[in-house]
């Protein structure tokens, strides 16, 4: 077991998980001293009938939904936060129920900062440590099994004008309650289930080898990897498998707990920058950068990367692989996962940057954008937590390989 000289771990979000966990909402609101929540969600979630399930769970209780804000876009930005906070105040709400994926949950956290601490612009609270006291009650209900935002201390919110994603970090951003209900992810189509779950897998893998790793984040990371690896393809092939959906949701929350405490590195660094510069969904970036993150840090974290093979591939494969070959086998396994997901989604799951297209089929990451992405990545906080230094040249080198889908040339990696 790895024991650092010093570590911190905080996972104080009450988690309620089950096939009909939503039924607990009214009672949970009462225990939080709230009765007029604002529901924050997006059009997709509302259109899929998931808000009806939440409303249904609240029938017969004293609580009333003060406002339904369903205009969170896929890649939310600070202006949305500012507008929704105005609505919360106008409707005299006293709490927030966030129902959605990462964008919705992070937007809700941003709204909570403004309505609790005052002010009209969320940008005033950017950084680590600007949020210094308890916020209004918040229940987070994820509808993807990926972000882990329901248990993390961070909110990532974009500034589309500047084409950057900003992180807001504070223990006070941890929601009060995370509620996992298998019905909430049942309707998520396979092409979205795949990258979001790979996002969760990335959280767990990076948590296991990045700078703030610790015994508690290790335990949650390994459990997350086991659940995700065992259930992802199963659920892609049979989307209505409620137990598989719940297992994936549990994997995502465990991954969230892990990375919220040990933080993440190169994969998120390049992922945030690619998302900010080209509008690529976060999970897509995570899937394709994950093997590169492992390769890039291999010289410093071979042991840890080798250990990931156990929860990923199972005891038989792990035992049959010689110690020295385990790190390589881990990377190979993740590349194969991406390939399997690509095949299972009819080619919609991208394996490398040049393969990513928008709804109209246009390429989202042109090659000439790579220098911009590398530059943006230099301003993303996750670079600090990566075991190896990431300069502009390093980031560009990795991006060029990720663009073509070729493995890294290990000789080109500068070793610190």
């Amino acid at each position: 077991m790895f024991l650092p000289d010093y570590y911190e771990f905080c996972a104080r979000v009450k988690t309620v998980a089950g096939h009909r966990a939503l039924d607990r909402i009214p009672e949970m609101l009462t225990t939080l001293g709230a009765s007029r929540p604002m529901i924050v969600t997006d059009k997709g979630v509302a259109g899929a009938g998931l808000i009806k399930l939440v409303n249904g769970a609240m029938k017969g209780s004293k609580a009333k939904v003060g406002a339904l804000y369903d205009e969170v876009p896929p890649d939310s930005e600070y202006t949305i936060v500012n507008a929704a906070a105005k609505l919360y105040r106008a409707k005299k709400c006293d709490s927030i129920i966030a129902v959605g994926g990462g964008s919705v949950l992070d937007t809700a956290k941003g709204i909570n900062i403004l309505v609790s601490l005052g002010g009209s612009n969320i940008l005033d609270y950017e950084g680590a440590g600007a949020v210094k006291r308890k916020l209004k009650p918040m229940i987070a209900i994820p509808t993807t099994s990926g972000t882990g935002s329901e248990v993390t201390l961070v909110a990532v919110i974009a500034d589309h004008k500047k084409k950057v994603k900003m992180a807001f970090t504070s223990y006070f951003l941890l929601p009060d309650i995370a509620l996992l209900d298998s019905r909430m992810t049942k309707t998520l189509p396979p092409f979205l289930t795949a990258p979001t779950a790979m996002d969760a897998l990335t959280h767990a893998c990076e948590a296991y080898y990045c700078l703030a790793k610790n015994p508690l984040s290790d335990a949650t990371a390994l459990a997350a990897i086991r659940l995700i690896s065992a259930n992802l393809l199963k659920v892609i092939k049979k989307p209505a498998d409620l137990q598989g959906r719940l297992d994936l949701a549990n994997g995502a929350i465990l991954g969230g707990m892990a990375f919220s405490n040990s933080l993440v590195g190169l994969v998120h660094n390049l992922g945030h920058a690619t998302g900010g510069a080209c509008g690529v969904p976060h999970g897509v970036c995570m899937s394709l950068f994950l093997p590169y993150g492992l390769e890039y840090n291999m010289h410093k974290r071979a042991k840890e990367i080798g250990e990931l093979l156990f929860p990923l591939a199972g005891p038989e494969v792990y035992a049959a692989t010689p110690l020295k070959q385990r790190p390589e086998k881990t990377i190979e396994f993740i590349r194969k996962m991406n390939q399997d997901l690509h095949d299972a989604t009819g080619g919609r799951h991208a394996r490398f940057l040049k393969e990513i297209v928008d709804r109209e089929g246009r390429q989202m990451v042109p090659k000439e954008k790579l220098p911009d992405i590398a530059r943006t990545a230099q301003g993303d906080g996750t670079k600090v937590y990566n075991p190896e230094e990431i300069n502009y040249d390093d980031a560009l080198m990795v991006l060029e390989h990720a663009y073509e889908g070729t493995p890294l040339d290990r000789r080109k990696i500068k070793k610190g």
Binding site: E126, G127, A128, A212, G379, D380, E388, G416
Partner: protein
């Protein structure tokens, strides 16, 4: 009950450690100003900051601190040890004296200190990361390789910073930091 038998305990101020940190901050602050006039990478970082940019680095809650700003020509300027009354868009505080000692005795690199949640950052994170890059480079100039390797994640390769440039830069930066120009 005799309340006098339950004395108040006033924590000490850790004066010696604070003096050590104050001296280190003074040297680093002046060295940043000097490095900005000597090294093109540091100069570029400061040119990228907005007009009126300044940052403080110190120990929460009583200091010491150093304050460095960007002058009208886009160069770094050491603004002293006292942040009070100054407009400082980026405040970086180490959470306590002992954590600051770990950083300033190079027992913990800046990255590890960040990973161990020893810093509070109030301001633009992009600017904070630029300051971390500047600090890393200044440490490479100021410290012998053996010690600097403990303070930075990756010591620059020859292709990134040649020994000639490094040693000449070190002499110039030390001279300028001592003389304050």
């Amino acid at each position: 009950m005799n309340y006098d038998t339950y004395p108040e305990i006033r924590p000490g101020r850790k004066t010696l450690k604070r003096i050590y940190i104050a001296v280190m901050l003074f040297i680093v602050g002046r060295a940043i100003q000097a490095a900005c006039r000597t090294d093109s990478t540091v100069r570029k970082e400061f040119l990228n900051f907005k007009d009126g940019f300044a940052f403080s680095l110190g120990v929460y809650p009583f200091g010491p601190w150093m304050v460095v700003g960007r002058d009208e020509k886009g160069r770094a300027k050491y603004l002293g040890w006292n942040p009070e009354g100054k407009k400082i868009p980026l405040k970086m505080n180490i959470k306590n004296v002992e954590s600051a000692m770990l950083v300033f005795t190079f027992m913990e690199s800046t990255s590890v200190a960040f990973a161990r949640n020893r810093f509070m950052v109030d301001g633009d994170l992009v600017d904070a990361l630029a300051i971390v890059r500047v600090l890393d480079l200044v440490e490479v100039y100021l410290l012998p390789k053996l010690i600097a390797k403990l303070a930075v994640k990756r010591y620059p390769k020859w292709s990134e910073l040649s020994p000639v440039k490094k040693h000449l830069g070190r002499i110039v930066i030390y001279t300028r930091a001592l003389l304050g120009f």
